[in-house]
Symmetry: C2
Subunit: 150 residues, 2 copies
């Protein structure tokens, strides 16, 4: 019997490959995150908050590209863990800002290091040149989606 490679199609498409690699990364990162009791989604939200604090929830939604409703949930989870705190926006009483707590900052730093190590391990088999190409090409795709035709 052949070694059952993942093979949804005889000639795999770029899109499939990207999604397959993403699944592998997500699985791996979820395991890495277990000691912190945090999910990849939550870790990503924590990172967004950390790099933009203090930030309105709507801005977090934009950076995460998720619905406002989903931001409520993930910020609830982070706040329950004591990693972030909501505070009223002084300039608009409808708005809410989030900022890291000291604990959140500490955890974010640990998480960044763990993620970095994880990523380096995952992509260890690639040459520097391949990695650079990958970063350039993927970065361009992300930007294209953000500003299509611009």
């Amino acid at each position: 019997m052949p070694p059952t490679r993942p093979d949804p199609s005889p000639e795999p498409q770029l899109g499939e490959l990207v999604m397959e690699v993403a699944r592998g990364l997500r699985r791996r990162f979820a395991v890495t995150l277990e000691p912190w009791g945090i999910t990849p989604h939550e870790a990503r939200a924590l990172r967004v908050v950390g790099h933009h604090e203090p930030t309105r929830l709507g801005v977090v939604a934009t950076h995460l590209r998720i619905a406002p409703r989903s931001v409520t949930d993930v910020v609830d989870a982070l706040e329950a863990r004591g990693f972030v705190a909501r505070e009223p926006d002084p300039s608009d009483r409808r708005a809410t800002r989030v900022a890291l707590t000291p604990e959140g900052r500490r955890v974010l730093d640990e998480l960044d290091a763990a993620r970095r190590a994880d990523s380096e391990d995952y992509f260890a088999g690639l040459s520097d040149r391949d990695r650079a190409t990958l970063a350039r090409v993927l970065g361009r795709l992300v930007d294209d989606r953000r500003a299509p035709g611009g």
Copy 2:
């Protein structure tokens, strides 16, 4: 207001980029699939069945890299739509095989064409060379995960 690019980190990592691109692809593919009333996950399972039929459910699980429990669900969904059919495996009465129905074959062909067009559109901005590199590098990562160290 600034153009709010997605920016979970000041120096985005390869892993993040891959996952971000995968999210964009998934969103787009989900929209493309709407006329067929099928999800990306189901379409992928249909494709696996189509390229390996008749196949045991366990083999489908391996190709899809999901738990046996999850195969039951997705095959249930495809069977309810009349795209696949379960049949007993003559050589092992514990096992179940799945195969496409004629309708499933027809839909799979349409889906393959739609996916192809979608993918080509999504990656249209890249040079042939960048696409080739992407395919090579990602394909290698997929294989590495399958046979780590081998």
